[in-house]
């Protein structure tokens, strides 16, 4: 529905919400710009509430500085598309898991030279220690596909990545950590 003011009314009509969802889902993540917030699994909900559009996102890590930028970008794009009243909410629970990165997101990561995450550990009860080199499955090199790779650092340029090196093609690459 287009209102008298020329913008979209948030009446909860499917067409309006679908448009809003498409716009929100296309917002890129500032730290991993090859992914959209939908690819990354941090866009949790787009809904209409009493005439307002409410977009719910969740942080990847507690200290993530990108969340604020994403919220700003969401509001900016949605208001430019005619959604006058936009609220961006943060949902802390359930906590984000790298398992929520979509198949399309994983494909885009690989294409950009980043290794996508392995499945996150199932955490029920105390977390076991990992004393030696990580017991995870070998990480596949996104450049040459070799599984002969080694971790050079458990933390990378952002909290969500670790640093790896491929022993076959000798290229360094980043691995999006399972969490």
């Amino acid at each position: 529905m287009v209102t008298a003011a020329g913008g979209y009314g948030i009446s909860g009509e499917r067409a309006d919400l679908d448009t809003a969802r498409q716009i929100a889902a296309a917002v890129p993540d500032p730290e991993l710009p090859m992914l959209t917030v939908a690819d990354l699994g941090i866009l949790r909900d787009v809904a209409a509430e009493e005439g307002r559009l409410v977009v719910t996102i969740t942080p990847t890590y507690s200290g993530c500085p990108a969340l604020r930028e994403i919220a700003h970008d969401l509001r900016h794009r949605l208001s430019r598309a005619g959604f006058a009243e936009v609220t961006v909410r943060t949902a802390l629970a359930p906590a984000w898991s790298s398992d929520w990165i979509t198949a399309e997101g994983r494909r885009k990561l690989r294409a950009a030279g980043l290794a996508p995450p392995h499945p996150a550990p199932d955490r029920i009860g105390p977390v076991p220690l990992t004393l030696t080199a990580p017991r995870r499955e070998p990480v596949e090199c996104p450049q040459c596909g070799s599984r002969d790779t080694t971790q050079t650092a458990a933390f990378g340029a952002t909290a969500c990545k670790a640093l790896y090196r491929c022993k076959a093609c000798r290229e360094p690459f980043e691995y999006v950590k399972e969490i």
Partner: protein, 300 residues
């Protein structure tokens, strides 16, 4: 990359009401848009005090870790520690914000102090962090040892708190568990590498543990705030066995001995959780608060 991928940065230069001056600035309430009501069954004043304890632990320790920046032995370790400090700062911000909201639940206008007022405008005796996080590490071995003990203890506590009757605290803890597991592994691997390394590194690691160990007992002491929050707070005494088991496992793999020694004395029966701190804390706090106090009302 397309222009679209830089949209988040482009918007910085646009004329808006938003007062960000750089990426990640323009801080807003970290719990914005989250239902902050305190469940009826929960003592709001005690919840505020409890969140302050956990928030202060993370805030103060994050600051100490930040002081290591530019001093780490390798670039990879520097980024690792920066990420750990950032995770803890994120936890601190949410916990301080939660403390402020819970505090406000008792006030007529409903507004408690915000994260900045709590972090920058409280004095030394009003901080509730444990004394473990206060000292400046003398060397890399001390950093690894302290980080191992802190993250093993906090991970065990947060594991319990993920089931807290306060849904906000439970959500903050559930998120923290994932981060702290990485921190603990990082520290454990360094303690093992140093302990099971050369005679020199072994000696330094053992000496570092001897310096830190007197502060371990305080982590598990009972306090009245926790006692007032059954089902909400995690009793540190309940996680002692689990934390001890983790530390034993690491020390054994590192060929290190568990230090003996006497726990650091309380002062007139009081310690960090009561606002009684070590000398080093005053200097740390002066630095942490200097910019905010020099420019009251500043925004970041």
């Amino acid at each position: 990359m397309t222009d679209d991928e830089f949209a988040a940065y482009h918007s910085l230069s646009e004329e808006t009401e938003d007062h960000r001056w750089a990426f990640g600035t323009g801080f807003t309430d970290p719990l914005e848009g989250i239902d902050a009501s305190v469940p009826d069954s929960v003592d709001a004043a005690a919840l505020a005090a409890y969140c302050l304890m956990l928030g202060d632990d993370a805030l103060v320790y994050s600051h100490r870790l930040q002081q290591w920046m530019t001093r780490m032995p390798e670039l990879e370790e520097e980024t690792a520690l920066a990420n750990i400090a950032l995770d803890l700062l994120g936890q601190a911000r949410m916990l301080l914000a939660r403390a402020g909201r819970a505090e406000g639940a008792r006030l007529a206008d409903g507004n408690g102090r915000d994260e900045d007022e709590l972090a920058f405008f409280r004095d030394e005796h009003e901080f509730r962090n444990v004394r473990l996080v206060e000292a400046l590490d003398a060397d890399f071995a001390e950093l690894a040892g302290r980080l191992l003990i802190f993250s093993a203890w906090r991970l065990a506590l947060f594991g319990r708190l993920a089931e807290s009757a306060d849904p906000v605290l439970a959500a903050i803890a559930a998120k923290g568990v994932k981060e702290l597991a990485y921190h603990r592994d990082y520290a454990a691997q360094w303690v093992i590498r140093l302990g099971d390394g050369t005679p020199l590194s072994h000696g330094k690691m053992q000496a570092a543990l001897g310096i830190i160990w007197p502060l371990v007992d305080e982590l598990f002491q009972a306090d009245p705030v926790t006692a007032a929050l059954p089902g909400v707070a995690a009793d540190p005494a309940d996680v002692r066995a689990a934390v001890d088991a983790v530390l034993e496992e690491v020390l054994a793999a590192a060929t290190l001995d568990r230090p003996g020694g006497v726990p650091m004395a309380r002062v007139a029966g009081q310690s960090g959780r009561d606002g009684v701190h070590t000398e080093a804390f005053g200097y740390l706090l002066a630095e942490l608060q200097s910019v905010a106090r020099a420019h009251p009302g500043a925004t970041w």
